[in-house]
Symmetry: C2
Subunit: 768 residues, 2 copies
Amino acid sequence: MNLDYILPNEWSIIEKGFDQNKVTASESIFSIGNGYMGQRANFEETYSGDTFQGSYIGGIYYPDKTRVGWWKNGYPEYFAKVLNAPNWIGIDVCIDGTKLDLNNSKVSEFVRELNMKEGVLTRSCLVELSNGHQIKLETSRFLSLEIQEIGAIKYAITPLNFDGEIEVTPYIDAGILNEDSNYDEFFWEVLQKYEGKNEAQILSKTLKTEFHVCTGMHMQFELNGFEIPLESKNEILDKSIKYTYKTFVKQNDTFCTYKYGCYVQSMNHNKEELIFESQKLLQKAAIIGFEDLLKKQKLAWSKIWETADIVIDGDIKAQQAIRFNIFQLNQTYSGEDSRLNIGPKGFTGEKYGGSTYWDTEAYCIPFYMSTKDKNVAKNLLLYRYHQLDKAKENAEKLGFTNGAALYPMVTMNGEECHNEWEITFEEIHRNGAMIYAIYNYVNYTNDYSYIPEFGLEVMIAIARFWQQRVNFSEDKQQYVMLGVTGPNEYENNVNNNWYTNYLAKWCLDYTLENINLVRKDYPDDYHRVIDITQLKQDELKAWQHVSEHMYFPYSEKHQVYLQQDGFLDKELITVDQLDASQRPINQKWSWDKILRSPYIKQADVLQGLYFFENHFSRKLIEKHFDFYEPLTVHESSLSPCVHSIIAASINRMDKAYEMYLRTARLDLDDYNSEVHEGLHITSMAGTWLAIVQGFGGMRNFNGQLSFNPQIPEKWQSYSFKINFRGCTIKITKSHKGCTFINESDTDTSIYLNGKEIVLSGNQLVENK
Amino acid sequence: MNLDYILPNEWSIIEKGFDQNKVTASESIFSIGNGYMGQRANFEETYSGDTFQGSYIGGIYYPDKTRVGWWKNGYPEYFAKVLNAPNWIGIDVCIDGTKLDLNNSKVSEFVRELNMKEGVLTRSCLVELSNGHQIKLETSRFLSLEIQEIGAIKYAITPLNFDGEIEVTPYIDAGILNEDSNYDEFFWEVLQKYEGKNEAQILSKTLKTEFHVCTGMHMQFELNGFEIPLESKNEILDKSIKYTYKTFVKQNDTFCTYKYGCYVQSMNHNKEELIFESQKLLQKAAIIGFEDLLKKQKLAWSKIWETADIVIDGDIKAQQAIRFNIFQLNQTYSGEDSRLNIGPKGFTGEKYGGSTYWDTEAYCIPFYMSTKDKNVAKNLLLYRYHQLDKAKENAEKLGFTNGAALYPMVTMNGEECHNEWEITFEEIHRNGAMIYAIYNYVNYTNDYSYIPEFGLEVMIAIARFWQQRVNFSEDKQQYVMLGVTGPNEYENNVNNNWYTNYLAKWCLDYTLENINLVRKDYPDDYHRVIDITQLKQDELKAWQHVSEHMYFPYSEKHQVYLQQDGFLDKELITVDQLDASQRPINQKWSWDKILRSPYIKQADVLQGLYFFENHFSRKLIEKHFDFYEPLTVHESSLSPCVHSIIAASINRMDKAYEMYLRTARLDLDDYNSEVHEGLHITSMAGTWLAIVQGFGGMRNFNGQLSFNPQIPEKWQSYSFKINFRGCTIKITKSHKGCTFINESDTDTSIYLNGKEIVLSGNQLVENK
C-alpha cells in the first residue's frame, strides 16, 4: 500500500517524480482504453528497465492448450487467453547518436497525468542523456472515443543545451509475446506488410482463432508548430516495420512527431479489406489532425461524465478515486457491441485470462444500467444469450441432459476457460447470476420484452440445471445441493451452500413465474420458446417441488442461516483476533488451513441478503451481518462493496465508510501490492454501488425506485445521477438534507425513506 | 481386458505370436528387476513400432519443477521424478545390410517367456527380413540377484536360408528422455566416456541431484558354441558409445553375442571410482560367463521361492497369477537397503512419479514381513524414520508447529512430490499408516526394541500432528477433523472421515501407551527421546483429551459409522444399478459428479475395520460390509483385496473369491487397459494378503498368530509359508482339511479357528 503515490486531484491521476520501481504499477494505473481497445501506459520510446508491455483489442483471444498437473474429465481442452496485440505506440528516439531511454538517463521534473475529464494521457520531463545532452520531453496520447479504431500520439522533443540531430523511429511490431505465457510462444502470424509514404500496415492473424488484425501507423512532423516534410529510411523486418526520420534541431526548438495508430480487424470488416480500411482511417485521422481529434475526445468524454459523474465535496481523494473507477469502467466497456464484455483486468493486464466472469452480472450491470442507455445493459445480457448453446454444451460435458445449461466460470467465447475442479465444476452459483441480471434489468428498465424475446430460454435452461443438480436427501426429506463452492472461495466442495441453494430456489420460482406471464401476455413468444426448448409440464412440477422442498442450513442457536453444512464445527475466531503477521491468509497459509478456518474471502450469505434484501427483515440482516462480517477477510476485491452497502442499510455508516475506503482506492493506493499486474476493473463497479446503493440507499425492488441517502461524516456533500426509465435524476446529499432534480421533461416518482415523492420534469425537490 | 493374452503356465508368463499392438503391454508384463535396478522388456534390437523404453535404477530421481495451473501455498517447488536411466541393453543388428526390426519383418513362431522360477526373460522367433533372409532369433536376459549391479544378455542369430554377413552393434546410451515428460528435457549430463577392448563405459550424472552413474557394457561372441574374436569399429558419440562387429555366417550356423551390462552409482561407491568399479564388475561377469551367472540366478530365485511361494492346485491361472505377483514384488524390492522403497509401478513404468506411497505401510510390509527376514520390514520402517525431519519440515510448511510431522503423500527423498491440494494437504490418513506399520511390525516380529530406538520419535511427531489437526467443535462438544480426504479419493475435502478420525485416535492412544512402556522398560531411550522431542506432560494430557472426545459420524438408522459427515444426503444407488456404459466412472463422469455420488473408489470405512478388526464385533463388520461394499466401484487397485479379506472373515467365500479375482490377474489380463503404463506393483501385495489373510485367515492381533483357513470351491488345495519369529510355518489347505508344518527346529504355537495348537519343530499337524 502506498498512500502518497498518486497526487490528489479532482479530475486527474498525477504522478510526480520518476521512480523506476513504480514503472509497471504506473503502466497499469495510467492505462487508456476506449471500449474497443486499450493499452497499458507504456512509454513510446525504448525503456530498458522493468516494464510490462501491453496492448489489447476487445474480443481477440487465443485458445491456449490447457496444461494441468492432474487432468479431470470435463476440463476444457483449451482456455481463452487475452492476447497481447501488435504494438503501434512505439517510437524509438536517438539524439546525436545516443538512444533515449529513461532507465539510463537523469530524469527530472517528471510528471505523468491521466486527465480523466478529457480522456488523455500526458507525460513531461527533463532528460539528461549519457552524452550530456538535455532535452525536454512532452507526450500526449489518447484512444479516440469518436473513431474507436484510432489512437493518436503527440511526441515533442526540445533540446535544452545543444543543437543536434534527432532521429525518431516510429514502428509497428507484430512480434509480440504474452506476458502470462511460460512457453515463449508467438500467437500472431504475420500475413502481409504494406509500406507507404509516412505510413505502414502489418496484417496479421491469430493462430487457431484466425482473427485478422491490421495494425497501422501514420506519421506527421512539426518543428516549432510548423509542419515539416521528412524523408524516411524504411526497414521492413520479419514481424515489424520501422521508419527512421532524421532532422537537425537547434537549442530550444521543439520537434514534434505525431503518430496515428490503428487496429482494424475481422470481427468488424472483411478480411480482404483490412489494409484498405486501415489506410482510410489513418488518412482520415491525419486530415483531422491531432488537436481536432483531441477536441472531439474531450467532447465525447464530457458526454459520458454528464450522466456518469459522481461529485464529492470535502474529500479530494474520494473524489479522485470514484472518478478513476468510473473512468476506467468506461474505458473498458462502451456498450455498443454485444460480443464484448468486461474482463476483470479490462485492457490493463493479462491475469486471469478470459473476459467474462459473474462479476459482470452481479456488479457491472447495475453500474452501466444506471449511467448509460439501457441498451448497454441489454447488450451485456445478449452476450450471455448468444452463448447459451455453449453453456448447454458445457453442462452436457458434465453429465447434464435435456438442454440444461451451465454458464462458464470464465469465458471469452462461451466456452469454459478455467480448470480448477472446485471452481470450474462447483462454483455454480454463477449460473444464478445470469437470471438475477435479467431480473435486475427488467425490474429497473421496465423492458419486459427482453424476457419473452431472449431471457426465458436462458431461464429454462438454467432451471433445468438446478433441478438436475440437487438431489433428494432421504435423510433430510428435502432437496440438498452437494459439492459446491460458494462466492466465498475459501470454502471448496461444501454441501448446501446457503447462497447457492437460495439462488437456485429463486431461479426456479422466477422462471415459473415468467413462464406464466409470457404464456398469458406473449403467446407467440411462448409457443416459440416451448417449441425450441421442448419444455414439458412435468418439468414445471418438478421445479416447483424442488423449490418448495429446498433445504437451507440454519442455526437455531445463532439464529442465522449457515454458510454451508458443518459451518459451526469450525473454530469461530474473529478476524480481529488474528495476528497481523498472518494476513493476507492467502499468502501466509496453506490451502487446507484456509479451508478449515472460518474466514470468508468475500460476501457469501451476505451476498444473498444483498441480492434479496426485500425478502428479509432488517433484524435478520443485522443478525447475519454481525455473525459473518467479523469472520470476513475481504481478500477478494468484490467483498467490501457488498459489506458497505449492507452496513449503510442497517445504519452503520462508520462500517459502511470503512468498507468503502477498502474498495475505492484499491488500485490508486496499491492496497494489495499487485497493481502492476493490472487494475481491478470489475470491482470498480462495486465502488460505484457502494456510493449509490450504499450511501445513497438506492433500491429498485418491485420496479419502485427508492432512496435512503446518508453521508459519511468526512464529506460535505455528494451527488450522483442515474438514468431511470428515460429520466435522468440527479441526487445531491449533504449533511443538511438532500435534493432531487429530474433533468428530463417527463414526470416520475421515487420513494424517499419509504415515502413517495413526485419528481416533475426539470424540477428540484428539496428534502431537509 | 484380455483373457487370452498370456498363456496359462505354472511357472512362466508366456506370450505366443507377435502382435504389434501388444508390444508396450508386454514390455510391462515381462519386466525384469532385481531390487537394485529394473527394465521394461524392451527388445535389444531396434524396434520402430510403438514402444515405451524404460530402464530404472532404485533411488535415482530428478527434482522436476512443479508445474500447476493454480499455485497453492505449501505446494512442493519440485517433485521427485523417477528417472529413465541410460540404456545398456541395446544391440542393433544388420543382416546383409538390412536392419533387423520386428516391426518391418515377417515374424513367426514368436514366443516370449518370463521364467519366474529362474528369473530369466527369453524370446525366440523366426524372422523374414525385407530382403528375404530368414533367421532364427533367440535371446535371454536377466538382472543378477547375486551381483545386483550386473545384467546379462545372450543374443543368438541363426541364418535359415542364406550365408551372409551379420553386423551387430551393441551400444550404451545416456541420451535418454523420460516418457512422462512433456518438455523433451534431458535429465542426464554425460561427464566421461571410456573406450576399451570389447568394453565401454559412460559416466553421467543427473542434473540437480547429481547422482553419478557409470553405465557399462562388455561383449563376448560365439559361433556355434565356440568363442570367436571379433574386431570392432567404434563410434564415440555425444551421449552414446556404439561398437560395430561384423562376421560372415553360414546357413544354420548360430552366431551369439553375449552382452554384460552394469550400473554402478554414487549412492554405493565413490564418484571417482565408478568407471573402475564398472570395469571390475564387467570383467568379473565376463569371467564367470553367461551360463554360470544364470546358474547362480536360478539358485538365488530358488531361495526366494523357498519361503515366498504359494502353491495352488486345480487352478493354473490362479497359480500363475499369484506367482507373478510374488515374483514382481521380489523384483522390485529386495530389502537390504533402507534408502529404497516400493514404487507403485516398481521398475516397470514412470507413472505417478516418486517411489513411496502409504501403499508400502498398509499393504507391502505384511508381505515382506511374512516372506522375508524381519530386517526387510525393518528397513522399510527405517526409510520413514530417516525421513522424519523432512516430514516435520513438510508439516511446518502447512502451519504445524512443535515438531509435528506430516509424511508426504508421494516421495522419493522425504519431500512431498504431489500437488493436488485435496491430496497433498488433505489425504492425511497416510500419517496414521506410518504408526500402524510400526505396530504391525512389533506385533508380528516381537522386536519391541524398534519402538524405543526409532519408532517412538515418529509416533510423537505424528501424535502432535493429529492433536493440532483436529479442533474442538463447540457445536458438537467433541473434536472434529475438517477438510480431509480419506482413502476413498472419490470424496475430497470432507469433514470427519471416519477412517481418518479413528486412525488418529488410535495413533494417540498407541503413542501414549508406548511412551509409558518405554519409560518403564527402556529408561535410557526414554530420556533420549524426551530430550530430542522436548515432550511435555501437558501434551500427553491434550492427546488423551482428544482421544477421549473424538467425534465419529454414525447413523442410528443404518447402524453404521458414516464414511464422513453428510454421507446420508447422497442418493444411495448401489453400483449394480449403474448402467455398464457409465463405468469406470473415473473415465465417464466429470469430477463433481463423482464427488457427489455415493461411489467409493477403494475401501475406506472398511479399511479401518480391516486394520482394527479386533476392535469390532463380527456383526458390526457384516453390517458395514453390507452397507459399503455395494457402493464400491473398486477403481483403485488397492480396493478388492481388502474386500476379499473381510468377505472371507465373515464367511462369504463367493464374494471373497470374486474380489480376489479382480486383484490377482489385474495386469496379466490387463483388466483396466492400462498395463502398457507399467504394472500395479504395490497392489500385488494385496493379492498375497487376499490369499494369506483372506482365504488363510491369518491374523496376528495381540501377538498371537491365528488362522481360519477356507478354500475357494474351484481350487483343490493351496499352501503358503510364512516366517514367524524365527519359524517357517507351511500351511496347506484342501477341501478335506488343513495341515501345518513347522519347518524349523523351534516349537511354536498358533491358533486355529480360535483354538491353540502347538507346532513342534519339523512336525506336521493335521486338522480335518
